[in-house]
Symmetry: C3
Subunit: 347 residues, 3 copies
């Protein structure tokens, strides 16, 4: 299927600069563009590639000002990244989706399955489970008793959902995700043994939540571990019992959040961050990768780094001096020597 630059510009509400009749049939990365493909430029670090790209058409931000000549036809839009996402979405939708319920799935009849769902081979659906319309469940996924799943949600292969879990509409759970495992709660006993604290709460994902591959979210001891609307979690993240993550917060891979911590909305949290339990993180906070959060952050929009973390500007300054600590130590040695000789002179 071919599209002209003009047709694409119409779809994206953009303006063509160059040949409006040039045709493309697939998409490419700007640094590996081929004739007949469409590419995009959003990250300034890739601007250098636009002058030599062989892509026929490139989507750019409306304010983009080239420094040299460009052979590709440009389509100027308000937000190139978002416009490209729209095109990819159309491309993906054209590929179609999985349908039908496999007769190799084991579905307990006590529940309720919506319309136009896909349920793959060897899926296990427990008792009293409710599944919404157009929801996709890939092979070998297990859904525990009494769970409820909304409409238009996609659950990839090998996901493990414990009993009583609630999942909203338009969520995406990637392969290997675990929802509802027991929180890590043990009461110390005599003789160094531990008594397990049963975890009788559940996990609740609101609408439009995306959870990355092999991420684990523990059920609450009491009540719910809650992931609010629009939250995006990357791969291999750990969310402990009774945590609450606010709307549209985005968290990168391998971060861990300890029990009962509440994270605000619109936060951005880097990869491999650790947050201890029972804290409150304000709305809009940004946390640099590998930081360790040991106390609550109460100021909205605060940006922190370090382990333990403090304001990012202070961290970066302190770190510059950390790298030079040896020379700093030598300067102190020198000052001490001078000071001693001054003292001796004074005597």
């Amino acid at each position: 299927m071919k599209f002209t630059a003009r047709q694409i510009a119409l779809t994206l509400n953009g303006k063509v600069q160059g040949d409006p009749d040039i045709e493309v049939s697939s998409v490419s990365k700007i640094e590996k563009g081929e004739p007949g493909t469409l590419s995009f430029l959003a990250n300034p670090a890739y601007t250098k590639y636009i002058y030599d790209t062989k892509a026929s058409v490139v989507i750019v931000n409306e304010g983009f000002e080239p420094e040299h000549e460009i052979s590709a036809t440009l389509i100027r839009v308000k937000d190139a990244y978002s416009a490209f996402a729209t095109l990819l979405e159309m491309y993906q939708q054209a590929k179609g989706r999985k349908t039908g319920i496999s007769d190799k799935a084991a579905i307990d009849p006590s529940g309720k399955i919506g319309k136009d769902v896909y349920i793959g081979e060897f899926v296990v659906i427990g008792k009293n489970v409710i599944i919404g319309d157009r929801t996709l469940i890939y092979p070998n996924t297990v859904i525990g008793d009494n769970s409820r799943i909304g409409n238009d949600t996609c659950i990839y292969a090998g996901v493990k959902i414990y009993e009583d879990t609630v999942i909203g509409d338009q969520c995406t759970l990637h392969a290997g995700v675990v929802l509802g495992s027991d929180g890590f709660g043990f009461a110390p006993q005599e003789e160094s043994d531990y008594k397990k604290v049963p975890q009788i709460g559940n996990v609740v994902l609101e609408d439009r939540v995306e959870i990355g591959a092999n991420t684990t979210i523990d059920r609450a001891t009491l009540g719910s571990t809650v992931i609010k609307r629009g939250v995006k979690l990357d791969n291999l993240i750990q969310v402990a019992h009774n945590v609450e993550i606010g709307e549209n917060t985005v968290i990168a891979a391998q971060t861990g959040i300890s029990g009962s911590t509440r994270i605000g909305k619109n936060c951005m949290i880097g990869g491999q961050v650790g947050i201890i339990g029972h804290l409150t993180i304000a709305d809009g906070v940004m946390i640099a990768a590998q930081s360790g959060i040991g106390k609550s952050i109460k100021k909205e929009g605060e940006i922190v780094e370090g382990s333990p973390a403090f304001p990012v500007r202070d961290f970066k300054r302190a770190y510059i001096h950390f790298r030079r600590l040896e020379s700093m130590a030598k300067r102190i040695d020198e000052l001490e020597k001078k000071s001693e000789s001054t003292e001796k002179t004074d005597e």
Copy 2:
């Protein structure tokens, strides 16, 4: 089902303060308590909630001294957290457990299955596997040839157990756990290639071990990777080949332990800690979250922090000064200026 405060106090060997006839039918968190529910107070950070909680009954430590009036009936016990765990356990047992062997499981007949077990759909049990009494195996779990699993053990959905694994009594393995994958061993060859070192040992879990979701434990190259009695591992932990973890040691999420390291008993290890290979960690050692352990810790009960880690008290002091490094640098600048001007004055 309703219980009076008096009945609960009897069960827990506690003392009622308030109305002994008040009834509760479910449990709640103290900060979200509702009439007719039972709650508990163990963590001092939550003490503030007890004065306003609507929970009808609250379990507290026997020494708890309220600062204001409390409307809830109190039950005073020796250890509120442990007592609450006991109640949750009774609550959970009342819900019942899974039973029966699914005819959709694939069980090799060469092994031996105990009494009153549960085996879910699409479970695969290899050759010569022995499974103890009352053990639960949730759907889509795979148990490799020659493995032995004890009594009263619970293995949740999608666990992958390689051949020759040994698991004791009363263990809990959460969804997605991998036991017995190959250790990471490669012998460098010419031309930068690597030869795989076959891993012919196994994994042994003793009794009362709990392993969190998606945690991975590699088999030994030779001999066994051993997790001793009472060890509790949180989610997404990596345990490399030939590691040994001592009795009742507790490790938080996302920690990694490299090959052949031996960890003592009763240790407490925080989240995202990294421990390099071939080390020995003494009994009762505590390691702060995100620490990096690069050499053996020989002193029992040592508490360390940092990457690389050193005694926690020294770390905390050093870190206070790290945060102020810029001002320290300025003070040195200042001292140098003065020193120079002194020298000039002296000339």
Copy 3:
């Protein structure tokens, strides 16, 4: 089955020192050696065990010079670790391998399955999948549509492979691996919401790649996430979309690599390292465990440590002074006091 020291030396092209007719029937660790077993000594940290080991035969490096008498028979070879790996390989091959295609697997007939493959129970193989000769696929693994898998590759239980994935010859994928999950790409929208950027690329593993348990590799947004020939990844690693990892690079557990970063060949990367996106890491670079890489490393063979990382020698020096920061602060206090008193004296 028994072998004499002479037979083993012949196989390994080594020289016997001691009794060439002594027999062994299994293998052991040097510190736990038993009579009738064969062991090896490669890591110098274990040299102390060779003088007391009860193993009958020990493989050592040809240059090994004992400091005391040794009762075991030695076999001297060029590279003891590699020679031992060869023996383990023979040992493992003697145990045999899985064969046959389970009638409980769900295999779409549109694809093509090679000769002498093993496909376990409840494996799902999608449309148009091509699987090479002698490849092993353990139970409950899911292989998405249009994927291609080479010859002599081993895929353990519960692996999840998304559509369009390409896997070479002689690869090993451990249990719980996820290949081809969506990259973490979201375009910010108005009102703090995010639009998902569809990920239409794939994952490509070249030949001789090994991937550890529960490691996740995301598909590319466009093009391919590429893991080149001979790469070894440990457990619980995160590889984001469009990353490229060069030949024979080895990465330890729990490391994370962000989107579009290119790592050179023959690199050695420790555990729990974080590397941000869009970077280039030169060939032969070594990165210490828990380091954070925030900018490209252009110098081949560079060794770095720290978060953010810098050359390892500088890091180690700086860290020595970090540990002493409190005493450094006191020395500055002291200098300031003296400086003030000098000033006063001068007045």
